[in-house]
Symmetry: C2
Subunit: 233 residues, 2 copies
């Protein structure tokens, strides 16, 4: 049923179950999308696959739906982490939206020496990730983590997980799978000390994203395309 | 001199030459960036490489610069065309900006059956492309063409130039070089008739951009990353 409304919910989804939506989802369904009793909606929660549900009660602040049947089983998505030096708001929003579409499982903002931003509104970013997952037929919403320093990120990164570090200054090979994560620096790049620190860790592999100099948010999107295009859905 | 100001100009650039900038570039240099006599600026025009220039006169509406030396020779950039079904304004802007960063030479908006937009402000899009080229160390600015219908595009496309058509509905191989162009459909995709028409042309190769369903602007950016990352600068 492509084209029908798809919503992410926190509830369990199982046959015959009833789901009750409050605002803002009720408002969206009833007032924005003009849906009413009898109309179909698809629901997913990241665990129970995708379900077809039918609206039984449609009020402005409360919509009830009856779960009819599973339309897709839950899949196992690639476990891929995007780590990026935090950007200003509009560009952070863009990175979160596009990373969610491209299929990352975890989004980790990082604070580096040259990072210009330090504030992150997790609720806002999560809403962006949910909307992207709803629109792009994903069955999971990426997890968005609180910012950490580059040193913390590297200290806690699992040794068996390859972290591709985008480094436009050296002649590294173009990013290619397999990798479990991508690390994108700030505008102006990592400092030499940061690059030296990263390279001390055997799980870090420097890579190029092509011959061009890219803005940070473009580097994140391009790198994810290179690393995730051949991943299963 | 990364970090210094880089401007695209239409003038010829040669040693000892003098370049005179009017608004809005004069305003940008003097009022926004607070540059004055003696300060250095880098200039490029898409033909004569990149030049270091020094400001000799700095007025609000007129800045004069003396060309000192060529800092980079003109390169030959990949000849790659992005053809995309025209999107609404903000998303068209994003596609033009990111395509310019990623190195396309020609940007061709296309009108398809399901295209929702039909208006394009070429001057605005060209300004976006110029700014992206200035910021991303490119020596050329992509050419932006007037929209054409899909049928016109296909009828005039050079037979020897491979056109990768992003088609999320079939099991096509993931987009990979070599290709001379990428064709991205509208939200909702090409119609079956359009896909049939495209496939009549031997230069068209269907490709996938990965297992995910991507918004149109994300598909354009991801496809360019896949096709251009290994291209020379």
């Amino acid at each position: 049923m492509p084209g029908s409304i798809r919503l992410f919910v926190e509830f369990e989804l199982a046959e015959g179950g009833v789901v009750s939506l409050a605002e803002p989802q009720a408002h969206y369904l009833v007032n924005v999308m003009r849906r009413g009793p009898g109309d179909e909606v698809r629901l997913f929660n990241g665990r129970d696959g995708e379900w077809q549900a039918r609206i039984s009660v449609a009020r402005r602040k409360n919509v009830e739906l009856i779960l009819e049947q599973q339309t897709r089983p839950q899949n196992v998505e690639p476990d891929f982490h995007l780590c990026f030096a935090l950007l200003k708001r509009a560009r952070t929003d863009l990175v979160v939206e596009k990373a969610s579409e491209l299929g990352v499982s975890v989004i980790q903002p990082v604070i580096t020496t040259r990072t210009q931003a330090d504030h992150v509104n997790l609720a806002r970013l999560r809403a962006i990730a949910i909307e992207a997952a709803e629109q792009c037929e994903r069955l999971m919403v990426p997890q968005i983590l609180m910012p950490v320093s580059l040193a913390e990120l590297l200290a806690h990164w699992p040794a068996e997980r390859r972290l591709m570090l985008a480094d436009e200054r050296r002649n590294a090979p173009v990013a290619a799978p397999p990798a479990g994560g991508l690390l994108i620096g700030p505008e102006g790049g990592f400092t030499d000390q940061e690059l030296d620190l990263a390279r001390l860790h055997p799980f870090v592999t420097a890579c190029s994203l092509g011959a061009r100099i890219l803005r940070a948010e473009t580097a994140a999107i391009a790198g994810l395309a290179l690393l995730l295009a051949s991943a299963p859905s």
